[in-house]
Subunit: 354 residues, 2 copies
């Protein structure tokens, strides 16, 4: 059975402003390392999913930039959603496209903007997930929690299943929404909860049958539009609900299988999260680009290639991010407030900076 | 008697890095307001000293930039010192030049980079100082202390003299070096101390006689060199001591007169000092250029015309200064450490930023 990787690359968040922009969101930005997160995601799939078996779904406004970023993919391998409608329509669109080409295939679905290592553990996990998918299961990848995170959904595990490729599998008792701190600590201590990382595997027949059962309006709206072309798709998307694949399908379906991830994972959701991924100097300062921390402690200093040099003197616990046209200064731990800055700039008509 | 203004414009400090640079020090930078501090100093002298009666002394490396900045002055009105040797050689050089042209003239000597207002009080004070100078006195301007500053020299006053142009004059008991905090508080409370602002007035015959008496090596070295031209001046400067006019002359001479300043004065010696001169928003943030303070308190945000936009979110008590090629972040109250940053950059071979 052939397997495809479908990369969800439609994100348009503002949490990495000013490095990421509306026209160049996180997945198209080199937040970490030398390449964009999207290119790193494609590279991480090699050789398990050669380029011809990768599909990328993004929004129409980002399609051209996404195709430029992935020259190893044919233009038709980057699907453009007319509108962002969260992940359920994205999954359905990809499934309908693949079904027209290879109706018995399997697929793994994964986000474009996560940090994952090591690659061999990642690929082994995907092999395990595909093995379960090939047996007609709805499969998700579970990340063993390392701290009582309140920003992720969780999977509650039920009985263990035989492992595949060295990855323990479990029946999933239920999907759990983002918990409060006390509950997150219980989950962490119990050992039977996993983070829901948004990485899934299904065979196409299983996926399409499950979509038809649990969210029929999405498949019924999209199926004729995919056949009819771009204009019909735009009309169809206007009518679709904004809903995640977790909520539309995985939380509703019975008998989900979770495969334990054989890799470390982070969705790197903010400047504060990025700090953890960079090497520190002896005073806990972490820099990228031409940035200099003098008598400073625990600072994150990021200078884009075309930005001014950054110099922090006697600073403590600050994040500073410089680009050619904007500089952000914000205390570490406050990174969720970056969106406030973006909102103020929007209201002031400074779309040129967004 | 004709009076000239001599502006000392040879400063090369680094305290306003990254806005000021080696090739564009504080006096050639628009730290406050739309024009450079040097141009503002020339403007503040009008109409009391029309351009043809102004002399500017700077170092050879800054002479061209200084002449460009002051197109209303003839090129010969900008004197270039081959080397910076503090203010005593600077005063002697200006005095010898003026004596060759108008030996009976008087002069006021003043720095190029101070903030002074109002202009009418300033000019009235200079008139008073020149009136005393015309009677053959060595005259300094005293600033009534507003706080127990430890960064300035002080004048201790003796008996009062008749006022001139509404400015009280005093005999000076002595010049005092920068005091410690306890002594500065005593000086402030006593009412008989003034800050020494480095603004002086003399007639040329009085000044040259006093220089010949108190620091003859300077005048004797310079007099033949001024007559002989540029190469001789370079040789002479190599042999001159680095010494201030306060130390070489004013602290040694008897019978100094101090005139009370009828203006507010600040030498604006750092980013911290600049903060006091800018209008504050409701949260105490002060900005210049395209800079935005969001949920921030007591910050100084300075963006040069060609700098990226500055955005500070939830920051407190920070100074941030952005230019096209460098961004400085430093807590307020730490501005004296800017020199550390400059020194590190110098050691790293980043002269391009200095």
């Amino acid at each position: 059975m052939t397997a495809y990787a479908v990369i969800m690359a439609g994100g348009s968040g503002t949490r990495f402003w000013p490095l990421s922009r509306a026209a160049r969101p996180k997945q198209l930005t080199a937040i970490l390392g030398p390449s964009t997160m999207l290119a790193a995601t494609v590279a991480r799939l090699q050789p398990l999913f050669p380029p011809e078996r990768i599909l990328v779904v993004t929004t129409a406004t980002l399609a051209e930039a996404t195709r430029r970023e992935l020259p190893m993919l044919g233009a038709e391998q980057v699907l453009a959603e007319p509108l962002g409608r969260d992940t359920a329509p994205c999954v359905a669109l990809a499934a309908l496209h693949l079904a027209a080409r290879d109706p018995a295939a399997s697929l793994v679905m994964l986000p474009a903007d996560h940090v994952i290592s090591p690659v061999d553990g990642f690929q082994r996990t995907l092999r395990a997930a595909l093995a379960w998918a090939a047996r007609g299961q709805l499969v998700t990848v579970g990340i063993r929690p390392t701290h009582p995170a309140t920003g992720y959904g969780y999977l509650q595990l039920a009985e263990p299943l035989p492992d595949e490729h060295g990855c323990q599998a479990w029946r999933v008792a239920r999907f759990v929404e983002k918990p409060d701190r006390a509950r997150a600590e219980q989950y962490l201590a119990s050992g039977v909860y996993r983070w829901n990382a948004g990485i899934f595997a299904w065979s196409l027949p299983t996926l399409l049958a499950a979509l038809a059962r649990h969210c029929p309006e999405i498949v019924e709206t999209l199926r004729p539009a995919v056949a009819a072309g771009e204009a019909a798709l735009a009309v169809a998307y206007e009518r679709l609900p904004r809903i995640s694949i977790d909520y539309a399908l995985m939380e509703r379906a019975e008998g989900i299988i979770a495969v334990d991830a054989a890799f470390a994972w982070d969705d790197v959701g903010s400047w504060d999260a990025l700090y953890e991924h960079l090497p520190a100097d002896s005073a806990g300062c972490r820099t990228r680009g031409r940035a200099l921390a003098i008598d400073s402690r625990d600072c994150l200093l990021i200078a884009a290639a075309d930005a001014p040099d950054l110099v922090a003197v006697r600073c403590q616990g600050l994040s500073v991010v410089a680009t050619r046209d904007a500089v952000l200064v914000i205390p570490r731990g406050e990174a969720q407030a970056v969106k406030d800055a973006v909102e103020v700039l929007r209201r002031q008509g400074r779309g040129d900076l967004l």
